[in-house]
């Protein structure tokens, strides 16, 4: 494999930015945000350079690696800290640094009134560095470091305004739920080490055929748990809605475009494990299908614009996970949807931030309305993102989502029909709730609070939105033209070239999907455009709406199943700790103190006693030697 000495700069640049800004303190307040943006942009530049290099090489020679240092060398266990840039990771690198840089730019203006803007940019840079390490690591262990790094950055950024207790709680919730997933990842690494003796991607891929299916299934399930935690998939999805407490650029970057897609990366990166463990692969599909419905249903009932978008993110990642679970045919489509989603969802989040910016940080859509005239650019960019997520041709989502629906139908048998129906239905519901967001926010009557004076955001904010909107329009077409992305990623995945039978012709799938979308849009129009929208959420709603408003009871479920028993367990443990362990320690302490007072007789400060002690010791030593020798 080729080596490249410049991979490390991808990570080092933003990392240096984070270090400088955090250690430099207030001194860097004036220019810290510019430095952070510049470093993120230069990392993007390095990424583009790498891409151009990669395009210039033949297919087999495209992956490049860089060994950084010998990390762990214990007995037979050797891990080198190394980086690997191949066709898959370059997609992520460009997405992370590209969208990341745009969001840096946006934040310069968005956070300009925050006196802690420097710290915010330091965390953003830290996130970029950690996320790049996650996708560039050449072993599960390096990935794990990045994995924890993005978890930390996410925690710090969700709780960025931690002076509000609710926000601090939200960040804690995200952190704790992520820990559950992290446990999965560490178990997966342990299984890999125990059964294969290696933790590098290449090593594991090589060893797969010599490993029992049981071990691979276990590893796959653990990887799935890890992915579920990071990507807010069922049953570890509950944190994402609360994570919206963070500043909106954070929601756009971390909780829409990049970090939450790490689970998809993990599963596609581990394709060799899942391809050899059908049970785990089936579970992946099931989790994806459940989450895609789950998120879509929550999305229909949310009045908070960011939470509605968060639910949508959850649902869209469900699509990706589902596609990744469909095996070699699905990986490329999962990545394609991930990339297009990165554009349109980040764009919409930035749009939501722009709306909030103009509306005194109001997030309740029932207090918006008729903003189209006041924020034309935001309306236009958000609208393009909307068309993209709906999957209207020729916008980006059409290409990526249709592929997933089609692949789901082609999975064969009952499975194919169920999955296909779920993805179709999901597309319809997506159309419904996204239309609802559009109508409530941009059309209809003004339902503003009295002191609201909506205005278009400054150019530093709308420029990134515009760039992302261009991506929302074109990325799908560009990535699927001549199967560009599929062919690009092809060498990484074992592709069975046999042509499966098509349950439905592509054109039929597209037609069905568009019909579902049209139905969803129509229902939303009837429900929200024809009738007056109350600016306070109505109380007399169906039980389903109530449940959906409460995020389908996810918090109650967690409370009943994990928190309460967990609390009981910790109380018991605490009591045991208090009585048994602390008791023992205190007992030992007591013993020590009482023996201390006994010994104080010896440690009395008189030299003669000390000398006597030495003499006694000497005699004892001689005696002991004598005994031993005898």
């Amino acid at each position: 494999m080729n080596t490249s000495q410049s991979l490390v700069y991808l990570i080092a640049l933003p990392l240096a930015g984070a270090a400088l800004l955090l250690l430099g303190g207030r001194r860097t307040d004036k220019w810290g945000h510019l430095l952070a943006t510049a470093l993120s942009a230069s990392s993007f530049g390095v990424g583009l350079y790498q891409l151009s290099q990669m395009l210039g090489r033949s297919t087999e020679a495209r992956p490049v690696s860089q060994k950084l240092f010998e990390w762990i060398n214990v007995g037979t266990f050797n891990v080198d800290a190394g980086l690997l840039l191949d066709q898959l990771s370059i997609c992520f690198v460009l997405l992370i640094t590209g969208v990341g840089t745009l969001i840096h730019v946006y934040s310069i203006s968005y956070m300009s009134h925050d006196h802690d803007r420097r710290r915010f940019f330091a965390f953003l840079n830290l996130f970029i560095a950690a996320m790049l390490l996650l996708v560039l690591g050449d072993s599960y262990l390096s990935l794990y470091v990045g994995w924890e790094g993005v978890g930390l950055a996410s925690y710090l950024l969700i709780g960025f305004w931690n002076q509000k207790p609710a926000y601090a709680t939200a960040s804690k919730k995200a952190f704790v739920m992520n820990r559950v997933g992290d446990m999965g990842l560490s178990f997966a690494i342990m299984i890999a080490f125990a059964t294969m003796g290696t933790v590098s991607f290449a090593g594991v891929a090589e060893q797969v055929e010599n490993t029992s299916e049981a071990a691979l299934t276990g590893m796959g399930i653990m990887l799935l748990i890890a992915a579920a935690g990071k990507s807010a998939q069922f049953p570890l999805q509950a944190w994402l809605g609360d994570a919206m407490a963070g500043p909106t650029p954070v929601s756009a970057l971390i909780h829409a475009a990049t970090m939450v897609t790490a689970g998809v990366y993990l599963i596609t990166r581990s394709n060799f494990v899942f391809d050899a463990a059908p049970t785990a692969q089936l579970l992946v599909v099931i989790v994806g299908a459940i989450t895609l419905m789950f998120g879509a249903l929550i999305g229909t009932a949310k009045d908070d614009i960011k939470k509605a978008l968060a639910a949508s993110t959850m649902s869209q990642i469900g699509y990706m996970i589902l596609a990744a679970g469909l095996g070699p045919v699905g990986y490329a489509f999962a990545i394609m949807h991930l990339l297009t989603h990165g554009f349109f969802k980040a764009g919409m989040f930035l749009g939501a931030g722009s709306v909030m910016h103009g509306m005194n940080d109001e997030v309740n859509m029932r207090k918006y309305g008729a903003l189209r005239k006041f924020m034309p650019i935001t309306f236009a960019t958000f609208g393009l993102g909307y068309l993209a997520i709906l999957g209207v041709p020729p916008f980006a989502g059409f290409y990526s989502k249709d592929m997933i629906i089609e692949t789901a139908f082609n999975a064969g048998g009952v499975k194919g029909i169920i999955l296909g129906s779920v993805t179709l239905l999901g597309a319809g519901i997506t159309a419904f709730y996204m239309t609802r967001v559009m109508i409530l926010t941009f059309t209809g009557t003004k339902r503003w609070d009295e002191d609201a004076h909506p205005h278009e955001s400054p150019w530093l904010m709308w420029l990134p939105m515009a760039v992302l909107a261009i991506g929302s329009v074109t990325s799908g077409f560009l990535l699927s033209r001549g199967d560009a992305l599929v062919n690009w990623l092809h060498p990484l995945f074992e592709h069975h070239e046999e042509h499966e039978h098509h349950l439905l012709e592509p054109i039929v799938v597209s037609g069905l999907a568009l019909t579902m979308v049209a139905i969803g849009v129509a229902i939303a129009f009837v429900k929200y455009s024809r009738q007056e929208v109350a600016n306070i959420a109505p109380e007399n709603v169906s039980v389903f709406t109530k449940i959906a408003r409460q995020d389908l009871m996810q918090d109650r479920f967690n409370e009943a199943v994990f928190m309460r028993p967990g609390q009981a367990l910790t109380t018991t443990l605490g009591a045991t700790d208090e009585a048994v362990i602390d008791g023992t320690v205190r007992g030992v302490g007591q013993l020590a103190m009482s023996s201390g007072s006994a010994l104080r007789g010896l440690q009395n400060g008189f030299v003669r006693s000390y000398a006597a002690l030495i003499l006694v010791g000497a005699v004892a030593l001689i005696a002991a030697i004598w005994v031993v020798v005898q």
């Binding site: 010998e70 060398n73 320690v585 030992v588 302490g589 013993l591 020590a592 103190m593 023996s595 201390g596 010994l599 010896l602 440690q603 400060g605 030299v607 006693s609 000390y610 000398a611 002690l613 030495i614 006694v616 010791g617 000497a618 004892a620 030593l621 001689i622 002991a624 030697i625 004598w626 031993v628 020798v629």
Partner: protein, 505 residues
């Protein structure tokens, strides 16, 4: 009668010669340089001498010789490593010693006398401590390279005598300091007597004072074993006294507390390296074949030392006494590396000595910073809430305590892990169990201090924390960086030690 001039390899002896030369120049400086210039001149001279010695030592690394000074000095890998460790520790310690605030204005004056008052008022500063330090360092670097019993004894006295004096130089609580010095001297003399007595027995056993001669006698067998056993026992007493192993430890809490803190730092860290260095050489080369006689006894001493050090430390209410007991416990941990008597044990002990020495200097450096109007505050109760008043002092102290406790990502963890695994490999399971147990006990009181500093509110008579001088700050920062670096990425140093640490005989 004709004399032949001895053949000396000056390059191998040069670190010691440089130190002694520097010390002698220091004495001349005391005599001929004006008072006002002396502190600066002495500090420069001392640091310069130490740096020169380090550089010279670096140049001769990897060389081996049994005949550097007609057989009295041996130079090999472990010698280089131990001497380098001592010199590095000495440099960081001199940073602390440079703060003359710690030393009596006129040590010869009676405490509380008119003469003393005048000396304080005139701003008198003593600078004799610098040449004393250099003499002590010279003795210390000679101790682990001595190749016969006479040289070993000369080195022992050369390192001890200056330390006795230095312990009595404290500016505050002068009576306690002088008492400590006297105790240290008397007990040191007592243990030296044992040491000499042991040397005499060994000569009686082997008819030789060279290490090679004694080893050959042991390997050959046939001598009077009683003489050998008493010799080993008494010689061990002298060495165990220096490292502060139970039951020869009783001086250390009193002396650690009474001595000026920079001297305590230097003594605690560097003396341990020197004494354990000598022990390693003697037990690994000279007495290796009489292993059956001393390992069980030394194991017993190690176990008692670890447990007693850790247990009694819990009851301490004074920071310096607590650190003294902690150093006793660490002497026990280090003994398990001596007992291991294998290559891994040798490597681990050398690594542990360096890591522990650096952390110790750092910890005492922080102690020098916590003061009130009457000087250093060592009462633990008054360290409450230190984390709020001085995050720098409290955080770095917490780091050193974590290193002492052997928490991962600090040098202490790597040290403990490698030393215990070496002992386990050699079959000394009891020692390892006692070691792990007392580590757990020790963690209790280390972490209690951390809780005290960070999670307890300060009492009324809060102590102030001195703004550290650049040199003190440097010693804390260096110690902290080394402690973390060796915890996170110890491989290069471990490899370096493994490659070099081979005794020649």
């Amino acid at each position: 009668m004709s004399f032949t001039a001895p053949v000396l390899s000056y390059s191998l002896l040069s670190p010691m010669l440089i130190l002694l030369g520097g010390a002698l120049i220091g004495v001349l400086v005391e005599a001929f340089v004006s008072k006002a210039l002396r502190p600066a001149v002495q500090l420069t001279l001392t640091l310069g001498t130490l740096l020169l010695a380090v550089m010279q030592l670096w140049r001769i690394r990897g060389q081996q010789s049994l005949t550097a000074a007609v057989g009295t000095i041996v130079f090999d890998g472990p010698a280089f490593l131990l001497q380098a460790s001592i010199l590095i520790i000495a440099i960081i310690s001199v940073f602390l010693i440079a703060d003359t605030e710690h030393f009596a204005a006129l040590p010869a004056a009676l405490p509380g006398s008119e003469e003393e008052r005048q000396a304080v008022q005139s701003g008198n500063q003593i600078t004799e401590v610098y040449p004393l330090t250099l003499f002590a360092v010279a003795g210390m670097v000679m101790f682990p390279v001595a190749n016969d019993l006479i040289t070993l004894f000369v080195a022992l006295e050369m390192l001890s005598l200056p330390l006795y004096l230095m312990a009595g130089l404290s500016r505050r609580r002068r009576l306690a300091s002088q008492e400590a010095a006297l105790k240290y001297f008397l007990l040191g003399a007592f243990s030296s007597a044992f040491f000499l007595f042991g040397a005499a027995y060994l000569y009686g056993y082997s008819a030789s004072i060279t290490f090679a001669g004694i080893r050959e006698a042991i390997v050959g067998g046939g001598g009077n074993d009683v003489l050998l056993l008493i010799g080993i026992a008494f010689l061990s007493i002298g060495l165990l006294f220096k490292v502060g192993a139970v039951p020869f430890h009783s001086w250390s809490p009193d002396v650690y507390q009474g001595a000026p803190t920079p001297v305590t730092a230097f003594m605690a860290a560097a003396t341990k390296i020197a004494a354990f260095g000598a022990m390693l050489r003697i037990y690994y080369t000279v007495f290796a074949n009489a292993q059956w006689s001393w390992t069980p006894v030394l194991s017993g001493i190690a176990i008692v030392t670890m447990l007693l050090g850790s247990l009694v430390a819990i009851a301490q209410r004074d920071v310096k006494r607590m650190l003294a007991y902690s150093s006793i416990a660490h002497a026990g941990f280090l003994l398990s590396g001596v007992i291991a008597l294998n290559k891994a044990g040798l490597d681990a002990t050398i690594f542990y000595l360096f890591a522990y020495g650096v952390a110790t200097v750092g910890a005492f450096a922080v102690v020098t910073l916590v003061r009130d109007s009457a000087g250093e505050v060592t009462d633990l109760n008054r360290w409450k809430g230190l984390g709020k008043r001085s995050p720098f002092a409290a955080t770095s102290f917490a780091l050193f305590l974590l290193a002492f406790a052997g928490i991962p990502l600090t040098s202490g963890f790597i040290g403990k892990f490698s030393i215990f695994s070496a002992a386990y490999e050699s079959g000394a399971k009891g020692v390892v169990i006692a070691g792990v147990l007392s580590s757990a006990i020790a963690a209790f009181f280390y972490i209690r201090v951390i809780v005290l500093m960070f999670f307890t509110d300060a009492t009324e008579d809060g102590t102030s924390v001195e703004i550290p001088s650049i040199l003190t700050q440097a010693s804390v920062v260096i110690a902290a960086v080394v402690t973390v670096a060796l915890g996170v990425y110890p491989a290069p140093l471990l490899d370096f030690i493994t490659n070099l640490a081979i005794f020649i005989r």
